[in-house]
């Protein structure tokens, strides 16, 4: 018999956990006591939201399960935003929360909250451990569920007296999982795959629309092979950035609300969409009724509930993207389609690319334009860095101007749109990939939502870089107010803000500032070369907007700004 908290450390080891993020508290003290002797890195963040986003960033950068820990009550409720964020973007995560001791559950005890109930709609699955002997099976199940099928966060709510109970556990003979209702479909239906191959071989104007599912299933190579073999242009979602090299001639970048004009025109005019690992989100499709009106749609996803959720699909394929793509390429080779039939379409797409490039603006007043910073960052890092983003204009500029080349190196809160995500996610990503430069492309508003994690970066020496595109606005909302609310800037001017350079220095990190374009490159070079956490305060053109843009509820071909229509 062993103390359950110690057994949990053995299970962590068995599941390959290298790092956990969290904040201690009364009901997780047994767990933290066991962590002191465990063979893994235990990162104390300054807020539970920092812990859960860091676990998320770690998971996205590594492909492994991220682990975060919080105590009962407020600790657990502080995780909720991050759990919901991981749920929306299908991030494998195990969140462990303390709960009050079993005899007082349900009595409104000190720091009691119904964590199981609060998190129900935003978890892949959850457990309240009521029998200590079930803990080993539950914890193994949690890791298994988090990383298989469509990944997602799994919550384990653990009463304090369970953690101190004595239980049996043999790491060489762990308990059997008991999940009779869980059987993710990996292999796509062969007949559907043959039909998809035929449709691809016959299409005159095909498009690939790919998303985060490709990255999760590690299917980038297969997707590249398909695109190259069948000569099909590729557009991706925000979370798909990096699955296909965006400097490849076949890449059309991101589609949707702030996508490229050429991606949106191509999607609107194509005759076949091969959609894989995507969920036809409203930010990607715009008005569904006018989305790709003439196109046949093939939709591949591991989650059957995503198929035909938002619009009708002609050829549904439920299965793992990597398996389905591999099999599809084989089928397509048998048909040996002629590449010539696409030539007029490829010429048309190329014409759109030439006619409507993303604008690289120069400011007449000599101020820094955001895209200039991002393009310089790309040059200085040769596009090899991991980029995380905050949410808002900074995120969309990053999506537009950062040409992602590799999977797992563009990390952004896509579905939930969580401000404050990028910086802690960057910490997690840096711990997953210490060999790579990790930069959070931030806005001044978002960064202030989790800026206390500077202390975490400094204390564990996690040399993350933060590039704030500082316009002293909650910029995306301000942009909408400019366009749709008659420039009434309600609650979006945040001119009272800290001196970010001094803020970084106050925490023991480095701080730099650039106010003119000619200072940008030097600041980047110095900050990125340092082996300390560093913050860069780029004072950008205050009212620079994100162009092009599709107004909410419009067709994606109906774009404002950013290259003439």
């Amino acid at each position: 018999m062993k103390v359950a908290a110690k057994v949990m450390m053995e299970i962590f080891k068995n599941e390959g956990v290298e790092v956990v993020f969290g904040v201690p508290g009364g009901q997780v003290m047994p767990l933290y006591d066991a962590l002191m002797d465990a063979d893994l890195l235990n990162v104390l963040t300054r807020h539970e939201q920092g812990a859960v986003h860091a676990a998320d960033g770690y998971a996205r950068a590594s492909g492994k399960v991220g682990v975060c820990i919080a105590t009962s009550g407020p600790g657990a409720t502080n995780l909720v935003t991050g759990i919901a964020n991981a749920y929306m973007d299908s991030v494998p995560m195990v969140a462990i929360t303390g709960q009050v001791r079993r005899p007082v559950v349900g009595t409104d005890a000190f720091q009691e909250a119904d964590t199981f109930g609060i998190t129900l709609p935003v978890v892949k699955h959850s457990y309240l451990v009521t029998d200590e002997h079930e803990l080993p099976r539950i914890l193994h199940e949690a890791f298994y569920l988090a990383r298989t099928g469509r990944p997602g966060p799994v919550l384990v709510d653990l009463p304090g007296d369970v953690a101190t109970a004595l239980i049996d556990y043999d790491p060489d003979n762990p308990p059997k999982l008991n999940l009779p209702g869980y059987k993710p479909t990996v292999k796509g239906h062969p007949r559907q795959i043959r039909e998809a191959a035929r449709a691809l071989a016959e299409a005159q104007k095909p498009m690939i629309y790919a998303g985060g599912g490709i990255i999760i299933s590690e299917a980038s190579d297969e997707l590249r092979e398909l695109a190259a073999y069948a000569h099909i242009p590729v557009t991706t979602t925000l979370n798909g950035k990096g699955l296909f090299p965006e400097d490849d001639p076949l890449s059309l970048g991101m589609l949707g609300m702030h996508g490229t004009r050429y991606a949106n025109y191509a999607m609107t005019n194509c005759d076949l969409i091969f959609a894989v690992g995507v969920r036809f989100d409203d930010r990607a499709t715009g008005k569904v009724e006018t989305f790709a009106p003439g196109a046949k749609i093939i939709h591949v996803d591991v989650d059957p509930a995503e198929i035909a959720k938002n619009l009708a699909v002609d050829i549904p394929i439920v299965g793992d993207a990597k398996w389905v793509l591999g099999s599809l390429i084989d089928e397509l080779r048998k048909l040996d389609p002629s590449p010539e039939r696409h030539l007029p379409w490829m010429r048309q797409v190329e014409d759109w690319k030439q006619a409507h490039p993303l604008p690289l603006r120069e400011d007449p007043d000599g101020e820094i334009m955001p895209e200039f910073v991002i393009r310089k960052l790309w040059e200085v890092t040769k596009g090899e860095a991991i980029v995380t983003t905050e949410v808002g204009q900074n995120q969309m500029w990053a999506a537009q101007y950062w040409l992602a080349k590799h999977p797992r190196r563009f990390i952004s809160s896509g579905g939930l749109g969580t401000m404050g995500y990028g910086f802690p996610a960057a910490m997690g990503a840096k711990l997953a990939r210490p060999d790579l430069t990790v930069v959070d492309i931030a806005g001044d508003g978002s960064f202030q939502m989790t800026s206390q994690e500077l202390a975490t970066c400094v204390s564990y020496n996690i040399p993350v870089k933060v590039a704030i595109l500082n316009n002293r606005y909650l910029g995306m909302v301000r942009q909408w107010q400019e366009l749709f609310y008659d420039k009434r800037y309600a609650s979006t001017c945040i001119e009272c803000q800290p001196d970010f350079v001094k803020l970084a220095e106050a925490y023991g990190a480095q701080g730099f500032r650039a106010t003119r374009p000619d200072e940008v490159e030097e600041v980047l070079r110095i900050a990125l070369a340092s082996d300390a956490p560093a913050l860069m305060d780029f004072r950008i053109k205050r009212e620079a907007n994100v162009w092009p843009m599709v107004p909410a509820g419009s067709a994606i071909s109906d774009m404002l700004g950013g290259g003439e229509a």
Binding site: G117, L120, P121, K124, S126, L128, T130, L179, G181
Partner: protein, 161 residues
């Protein structure tokens, strides 16, 4: 269109709230819901009666399938399944009306399971039509209260639900 979803689930705490929460979140109003252990004590059967178009019902069914504790879902075809509901009806009864009520009860092959000076409790089992029929006939006597179990259903013939 009415659908009867028969959902086989693990008999564990929290399963019901996952199911009902999912319906609420996706904007469905559940007409009735009945739960009970099956022949295997590890499993429970949830019978959900819900109104909706086929496409949204298919979507909610897929979402239900994603719940880890859900094992099997059947959208029961009314032609190849049998449905029943048990209802307890407390109705006002005076010495003048009592025999008339008893006649109604007999016609519907219902039972009287409690008698007091001013009320009768009627137990009736049947399909929705039968239940609504007896309720409408008893209503003029003065319904005190009506308690329903919600619909349960099972496939006809050898096939398992």
């Amino acid at each position: 269109m009415k659908h009867t979803l028969s959902v086989l689930v693990e008999n564990k705490p929290g399963v019901l709230v996952r199911i009902s929460g999912l319906f609420a979140r996706r904007g469905f109003n559940i007409d009735s819901l009945a739960v009970g252990e099956t022949e295997d004590p590890m499993l429970s059967r949830v019978t959900i009666s819900v109104d909706g178009q086929d496409q949204p019902i298919e979507q909610v069914t897929k979402q239900l399938h994603k719940l880890i504790n859900v094992i099997k879902i059947t959208d029961l075809d009314p032609n190849s399944s049998v449905t029943r509901e048990l209802v307890l009806i407390k109705v006002h009864a005076t010495s003048e009306t009592r025999s008339e009520i008893i006649q109604v009860v007999e016609i519907f092959r219902a039972k009287i399971i409690d008698v007091s000076a001013s009320t009768l409790i009627v137990e009736v089992t049947g399909t929705k039509d039968k239940i609504e029929g007896i309720i409408s006939l008893l209503r003029p006597f003065g319904l005190v209260e009506v308690v329903r179990t919600g619909k349960i259903a099972i496939s006809r013939g050898r096939k398992r639900t």
